[in-house]
């Protein structure tokens, strides 16, 4: 039996090997998702047969009520909910345990090359919504010194990449390439995490100086490591996306990937205002996030909303129903357009431009 790592997803280290317990526990969590599929398929069949869902389409509260009525006596929904909730509750602790089991080999692969270079706006800048537990990241995104490595190399590898359809890193490339210009000189990635989207931006626009902003120091530390291993260097700042502290008019592209659904609507509005402030006149905004419910099938909209409610996603519904065109226009942007890049309208991208001076 070979000791080599199995197929390595795009952008992940090939030399991450877990001990038997950590590997099999992570694979168990992955298999729970597959094991639930027959149950979920029958729930879907049952819901799609109901005209009530079609009639309630477009109104998520009515859609949920209609589905609740159809499934009131069906134990499969409860089992799927309890299983997914348990799965999410233990996912990060299991990944942390798996890392610790191999910490002597993995910690050197996780360490940032120059952590003192990461700018930090400090605790007083951290907004209240950051304190909520989202994505079931028990202990918080900074709950472990190497949470960035743990999340990117273990949680993504074992759970997110195998469980979600489509090429999730390829989606980031396509969004990066959707920016209107062929070249940029200064790019800011808001909510950059471990740099999954940042790296795609850096690859799409290799001449640009790239800045990544995130609230998690642990994620930024691993972003710095990933940038170094890709042969590049980014300015990294720990700050909220809506209040970066960066100089105004210092970027020609401000971008984000799946940031907006992590925050309440008033913060989303502030992020657009902050992007406007950061951009030079004529600069571009490219924000990609969850698909609006109105563009999903009734079943998919119901599932998104049910899953978000049961999956530590407090702001999914508001993000899936907010009118980002209006938000962008209110912030001062023009040339606003939206584009769906994949099935069921995900990724859903909003592109806008800060007008040249005198044209606003």
């Amino acid at each position: 039996m070979s000791t080599a790592q199995p197929t390595v997803p795009d952008g992940m280290r090939a030399d991450v090997e877990l001990a038997q317990r950590g590997r099999s526990e992570m694979q168990f969590l992955q298999a729970m998702r597959a094991g639930l599929r027959p149950l979920q398929a029958r729930l879907r069949e049952r819901l799609e047969k109901e005209a009530a869902l079609e009639e309630a389409a477009g109104d998520i509260a009515r859609l949920r009520e209609a589905a609740d009525e159809v499934l009131a006596e069906d134990p499969r929904l409860g089992i799927a909910g309890a299983a997914l909730r348990w799965n999410r509750a233990v996912l990060t602790p299991r990944a942390v345990d798996a890392f610790e089991e191999r910490a002597d080999e993995l910690a050197p692969k996780a360490a940032p090359p120059a952590p003192e270079k990461i700018a930090d706006r400090g605790e007083e800048a951290v907004p209240r919504y950051w304190r909520y537990e989202f994505h079931g990241t028990a202990g918080g995104w900074d709950g472990h010194e190497h949470m960035g490595f743990i999340h990117h190399e273990l949680v993504y590898r074992y759970l997110l990449v195998p469980s979600f359809p489509g090429d999730i890193f390829g989606q980031r490339t396509r969004v990066a390439e959707l920016a209107p210009r062929d070249t940029y000189t200064d790019i800011c990635d808001l909510g950059c995490g471990t740099g999954q989207f940042t790296l795609k931006l850096a690859q799409a626009y290799p001449e640009a100086r790239v800045t990544g902003v995130d609230l998690s120091l642990a994620e930024l530390r691993y972003a710095q490591r990933r940038a170094a291993e890709a042969g590049t260097e980014w300015d990294l700042v720990r700050a909220p996306a809506e209040d970066t502290g960066l100089d105004g008019e210092s970027f020609d592209l401000v971008a984000s990937f799946i940031l907006l659904h992590e925050m309440p609507p008033h913060a989303i509005r502030k992020v657009f205002a902050e992007a406007f402030r950061l951009l030079r006149p004529g600069g571009d905004l490219v924000f990609s996030d969850v698909a609006p419910y109105r563009l999903r099938s009734p079943y998919q909209a119901w599932y998104d909303d049910w899953d978000a409610e049961n999956g530590h996603e407090p702001w999914w519904r508001t993000a899936a129903t907010i009118d980002l065109v209006e938000v962008a226009r209110t912030a001062g942007f023009t040339d606003i357009r939206q584009e769906a890049l994949g099935q069921q309208s995900y990724p859903w991208v909003t592109v806008a431009r800060k007008p040249m001076e005198g044209l606003a």
Binding site: M1, S2, T3, A4, Q5, P6, E17, A19, Q20, R21, R23, S24, E25, Q27, F28, L29, A31, M32, A34, G35, L36, P38, L39, R46, E73, D74, P75, R76, I79, A80, A82, A83, R85, W86, N87, A89, V90
Partner: protein, 91 residues
């Protein structure tokens, strides 16, 4: 009557207890899977080498057919767990 022996004590009588019991079931299922996986690795290594060390077990990353077989067994195992949990009263 309070203060006297209760011959038919019921402690887990709230709806939340059902979710807690489900969580315990999943913990046990996870642990059972870790053991099944470990046994599969041991059997494989014994087939290949005739002898093994603890480190051999820890370092082995199942590949190809072995990885696929384990993935199929994991999925079948969990499908059975969920199907039996969902069966009472299911339509």
């Amino acid at each position: 009557m309070p203060g006297f022996a209760n011959d038919d004590a019921v402690h887990l009588d709230r709806p939340e207890h059902l979710d807690a019991l489900f969580g315990i079931t999943m913990e046990l299922a996870s642990e059972l899977w870790v053991m099944r996986d470990r046994l599969a690795v041991i059997e494989q290594l014994l087939d290949e080498r005739g002898t093994l060390t603890r480190d051999d077990i820890e370092r082995t990353q199942p590949q190809g057919e072995n990885a696929e077989r384990l993935a199929r067994e994991r999925e079948r195992f969990l499908t059975r767990v969920f199907e039996s949990a969902a069966r009472p009263g299911g339509k």
